[in-house]
Each structure stands twice: as structure tokens, then as C-alpha cells.
């Protein structure tokens, strides 16, 4: 149930980045969320709606891309993807996968904004 805190952090981060685009309105926020990030998308979407009220993000859409879990298999000496969150073992050799380096992401990838046409200087 920390989705509201996360939604507020997203609003803060995006609002800060808007400083370089005065008057801009946010249409979409694109988020990368790891399958192991402990985030419930439905709950995050709901909280995003609340957290964006009366901010430059009001009415914007939250687009979530889920990142699969991956890590390093020391036996195969390569990075592998974990097929199921029920077993953190290498799908090839069955050995333990060390440090799951991918799948914990919680990152704002990009935002789509709409602003007034800039005056073109000639």
C-alpha cells in the first residue's frame, strides 16, 4: 500500500522536470516497473489519479511497462532471464542466480508534454 507515496514521488519528479517547459501540460507519463518492484499497477493507477489532481499532471495518463526479472548465472557465466517468480534459478543449468540486477526498476522513462508553439525566431 505504498502506491500513494510512489504516485506522489512521480508527481514531484515530473513537476520538477517541467521547470524547463513553463506552461506545459503533461499528457502521459511512461513508467518502467520491474516485475519484482512490489508495485500493484491497478493500485498505482488509482493513486496516480488522486496524486495528480490540481497539478500540471492532472488528467494525464500513466503508461506502465513491466520489466522482466533477470540476473547473472555464475555457472553459465552470462545474464539470464528468470521465467517464474517462484524460482530464482537459471533456466538453462538450474543453478542459483546471483544478484537479480533487472526487475526491480521503478523509473520514469519519459513524459509526453503539450505546450504552446514557440515563437520561431528568424
Amino acid at each position: 500500500m505504498h502506491e500513494l507515496s510512489l504516485a506522489s514521488s512521480i508527481v514531484d519528479a515530473v513537476t520538477e522536470s517541467l521547470a524547463s517547459y513553463p506552461g506545459a501540460r503533461v499528457k502521459e507519463v511512461r513508467l518502467r516497473v520491474g516485475a519484482l518492484a512490489a508495485v500493484e499497477e491497478e493500485s498505482l493507477q488509482f493513486c496516480f489519479g488522486i496524486a495528480t489532481e490540481n497539478t500540471p499532471l492532472a488528467g494525464s495518463k500513466l503508461a506502465v511497462v513491466i520489466v522482466p526479472v533477470g540476473g547473472h548465472c555464475p555457472t553459465c557465466a552470462k545474464d539470464v532471464e528468470i521465467a517464474s517468480l517462484r524460482s530464482f534459478r537459471c533456466p538453462v543449468c538450474g543453478g542459483p542466480v546471483e544478484n537479480t540486477s533487472r526487475g526491480r526498476e521503478l523509473e520514469i522513462d519519459s513524459i509526453e508534454i503539450e505546450d504552446e508553439e514557440e515563437t520561431v525566431q528568424s
Binding site: H2, L6, S17, L36, R89, P96, L106, I108, E112
Partner: protein, 217 residues
């Protein structure tokens, strides 16, 4: 009107992660071993920590604890009976501790005077896993009265743990605890993790746990 895409590539928990990194540097520089204890409510974190603090304190180690709960300072009062300095963090509805809460509650403590600092997180197996507190060792606890498959249900936390504790083993038989199944589910999520089987009441397994703590310093 023009529409454009602005690349941000920014972590949502960037502020917490940056502060946690600073805390970790501070802890390392002071030579204090910091542990973050996470479990569901009722696993017995406080009883386990009470016994750990008491035994470490009696052995001459310099220990302290920060304990997180939504409300009340009951746990801090319980833990303070061990003789170690303890501070309560009340989150007032927030379901996890974050790095800022830790930073604030360290005020006035001289970290170089400590060997161990334990952080007892808010009882919750989901949200605390996303918040780095600057700890060196994250400990996931599971009691024999909970389902043996709990690690499978909460992979985020168990996969991020450095050590796992099974608590209340003194009543394992009475509650029909399937030890092999529990160990297997922990190992599926975090292959190779150190597991300690303990009872804060009988003291079973505490020696092995304390020896591990001393070896980590």
C-alpha cells in the same frame, strides 16, 4: 500547440536511494554494522530482537535499535529493557520506514560508539522491500505459524534479503510446521541464503545467529 517527448530516466525513489547511499557511507565509516529486520506483523521481530539485544549487550557489544511502528512506543519500551539505547519511529499510517526517517532518528547518537544498529521495520512484507535504509544486512523473518510458502508469495522481500530467520521453532511441532517445505521455498526465492532457525523463548539457535553477527563485523 506542440507535443513532445521528454526523456527523464529517473528513479521514482531517487531521493530515498541517494539518502540511503549517504547513510551507508556514514555507517561504514563509523564501523557500525546495520541490519534491517523485515517480516509480517506477528512473526516475533520484537521478541527476537529483544533477545538479540540482551545477549549482545551482556557480551559487552555496543548495540542500539530503531523500531518502526504506525503508532505507540510499546516496542521501544520493551526493547529498552535490554539495556541498549532504543528509539521508536512512529510512521503514523505509513507502511514502511524510509531513509529520511532513519536519518532523522539518528540525531544525537555517536555512531562510532556503536558496534551494531538494528532497525526493526514496520510489520509488512511488501512495502519495506522497496526502501533502502542504508543497511548492510537485510533480514527477512518468518515464523513457524505462517505458511511455509510465504517466501513464494512475497518474492520481492525474500529475494532482496541477505539472511533469513525462522522464528518460534519451540512450537514448530505443535503447529505442524513443515520445515523442509519452508527451507525449500526460501531457497527457491533466494538460493544459497543463510537461514537461522531460532526461538527467542527457549534460546534455540541464538548462538549460531550471534556468531554470524560477530563474523559480519
Amino acid at each position: 500547440m506542440t507535443t513532445r517527448i521528454v526523456e527523464l530516466r529517473q528513479g521514482v525513489l531517487k531521493k530515498n536511494d541517494e539518502l540511503a547511499r549517504k547513510l551507508r557511507e556514514r555507517f561504514n565509516a563509523s564501523g557500525v554494522l546495520v541490519l534491517n529486520l523485515v517480516s509480517s506483523p506477528g512473526t516475533g521481530k520484537t521478541a527476537f530482537l529483544e533477545r538479540t539485544l540482551r545477549e549482545l549487550h551482556q557480551s559487552g557489544a555496543r548495540v542500539a535499535a530503531l523500531v518502526g511502528d504506525l503508532e505507540t512506543d510499546n516496542d521501544a519500551r520493551r526493547l529498552a529493557a535490554s539495556g541498549a539505547p532504543v528509539r521508536q519511529i512512529n510512521t503514523h499510517g505509513i507502511c514502511h520506514l524510509d531513509a529520511e526517517m532513519i536519518d532523522k532518528h539518528l540525531d544525537g547518537w555517536n555512531l562510532v560508539d556503536l558496534d551494531y544498529l538494528f532497525i526493526e521495520n514496520v510489520g509488512n512484507l511488501v512495502c519495506p522491500s522497496s526502501y533502502d535504509l542504508g543497511e548492510r544486512i537485510r533480514v527477512a523473518l518468518l515464523s513457524v505459524t505462517e505458511g511455509e510458502d510465504k517466501p513464494l508469495k512475497y518474492p520481492t522481500l525474500f529475494n532482496s534479503a541477505d539472511a533469513a530467520i525462522i522464528t518460534k521453532i519451540d512450537i514448530a511441532e505443535a503447529v505442524g510446521f513443515d520445515r523442509a517445505a519452508a527451507l525449500q521455498s526460501i531457497d527457491s526465492i533466494r538460493p544459497g541464503i543463510r537461514v537461522f532457525e531460532t526461538s527467542a523463548r527457549s534460546g534455540a539457535g541464538m548462538d549460531t545467529w550471534l556468531a554470524y553477527l560477530k563474523a559480519q563485523r
